[in-house]
Amino acid sequence: MAVELELEDIQGTVLRSRPMPYFGTYYVFTIDDAGNAITLIKRLLPHITPAANWDAPPENAWINATFSWEGLRKLGLPREILDGFPREFIQGMAARKEFLGDVGLNDPSHWDMPHGGNGLDIGLLIMAGSPELRDAKAAIGREAVAGLGGVRTVNRLDVGLPPTGREHFGFVDGISRPYIEGQGGDPLPGQPVAKAGEFVLGYENELGVIASGPGPEDFWRNSTYISLRKIHQDVAAFRRFLRDNAETSDGRELVAAQMMGRWRSGCPMALSPEKDDPEIAKDPMRNNDFSFRTEDPDGDRTAPGCHIRRVNPRDALDGTVVDMRLHRLLRRGSAYGPVLPEGVTEDDGVDRGLVLAIINANPGRQFEFVQSQWINDGDFISQGERSDPIAGRRDRSDEFAVPRPRHRYKGLAAFSQTRGGEHLFLPGLGGLRWMVERLGPH
């Protein structure tokens, strides 16, 4: 039976891809007064954008509200509901730093975006197709909080597509994502079909059960979790690495492509291993239409340890203990900070990077599994302690191996460094109403 998602009740960011170009803002609020925080939610509620009309939204902008576990605790959610949340959400991302590899340069002591342990109680996500639309939505957020003592804006981060049209390392971003049952339309070639319960609570998941949350269904139905990561990108170090490992411009492009598994245009190496083919990159019917198990089991075209074979191994792990269906992510990435001018290979001290909003109904077996087992470890692909050459930790290994032509790159730097992170709860609109009615003043 076809799955029918209650799109009017699911917050928009779950199903809507960001516009292109995009202009967004992340606001972080701290709650000092629960009653006023409920008033904030009440004021925001009419403006929260659902996922309905997700292919053709009436306006190309949305505003969504999220909560850390600490935020829900401050709002007065009953203890029996708080205790029923997943362990990862209850503990918060900073507390899970050892498991997630957030050590050394990635340690929460270096984070400049608050987490649930030091100020992130409510997060507001705004995304729009123009600066004007973004500012209009941001004004709603500011007006909602205006005059409310006890709710402080403690952080704001603007995101937007760099003028290059690519993320800061120079890659076209956001090409691959799962197709969620019930989202409408048809899956594209190479796009895996995922049960809705992997991404939204209240629907059947890949274990064949209804994904659920704590407390009454009215609270958790159509909700999900966003695993938020602020990632600082050391673009100068990345460029130096390419420069030091290749003599020509084409050579540098090849090294970058080997590390990612796609050329910087987005063209997969699986389909064009020798040279970039921007036509494939632009064609949604082709740019994801590849697999690894039979076509490239040894990684001759797409290196086993590259970024895309780690975050989405496709069919490469079929026949092993890993059930790929249990570890899918819906990833919304957006860039922040100014572009490092082309050709510059010395750090200018300016912060730039990515904000990843990873949507998952089970943060433990989805985001945290991928981060700890696939991005930060290499044993699942016989790569020992080697980590993701783009996004992985560097305290255990600084190597990346390419099978053909056989080459072992050494001296990978910490190109991507965690600067913030939290597991956030994104209620359905009904859940937000439930919170206002049950937690607000009577």
Binding site: T320, V321, L326, G364, R365, E368, S372, D379, S382, G384
Partner: protein
């Protein structure tokens, strides 16, 4: 020196161990251990003994499929009232638990339903929670070559065979 003092000479080869980063089990290098102790359903002992031969016969097939287990044991004890399952394996325990019970489910289902109290079938998400709830962490643990995983050992074995063949050919 009392009996409780650690001898510096004998402790020189001590292995740094820690608890698994995300749940029960001790960890040395890449090697982890786990012990799970459950109750046996009355009458479950007979069922267990009826089924154990097939379970043992299929161990190689399923453990190869899992691919990260160095050794594995199941023991019925205390007059058929309790069951102990223990394993030494590579990497983390809790993150892979759901995958293991999902992928090797048919093997566990050969043996455990009607034997292990609370174990209805591996596909039931409650099974992973049952295992985690009844898991114990070793108080002392030793692992030889703790940084070599099953995959590493298999790779070194292939390499060693190839080197031997090459040397044989050269002679």
């Amino acid at each position: 020196m009392s009996n409780l003092d650690i001898s510096p000479e004998k402790a020189a080869l001590t292995q740094p161990s820690s608890n698994q980063p995300d749940g029960p089990g001790k960890r040395i290098g890449k090697r982890g251990e786990i012990h799970v102790i459950g109750n046996v359903v009355p009458g479950g002992g007979k069922l267990f003994r009826d089924r154990i031969a097939r379970f043992q016969a299929e161990a190689g097939y399923w453990e190869k499929r899992i691919g990260t287990v160095h050794d594995f044991r199941v023991i019925l004890f205390d007059n058929d009232t309790r069951i102990l399952v223990s394993a030494v394996y590579d990497g983390d325990f809790v993150p892979y638990l759901q995958d293991v019970v999902t992928q090797a489910g048919p093997w566990f289902d050969l043996l455990m339903p009607g034997v292990w109290e609370g174990f209805t079938c591996a596909a039931d998400p409650a099974t992973a929670k049952l295992i985690e709830r009844q898991a114990y962490t070793a108080d002392a643990f030793y692992a030889a070559n703790p940084d070599l995983t099953i995959k590493d050992i298999a790779k070194m074995r292939r390499l060693s065979e190839a080197v031997n063949e090459m040397l044989d050919a050269a002679n």
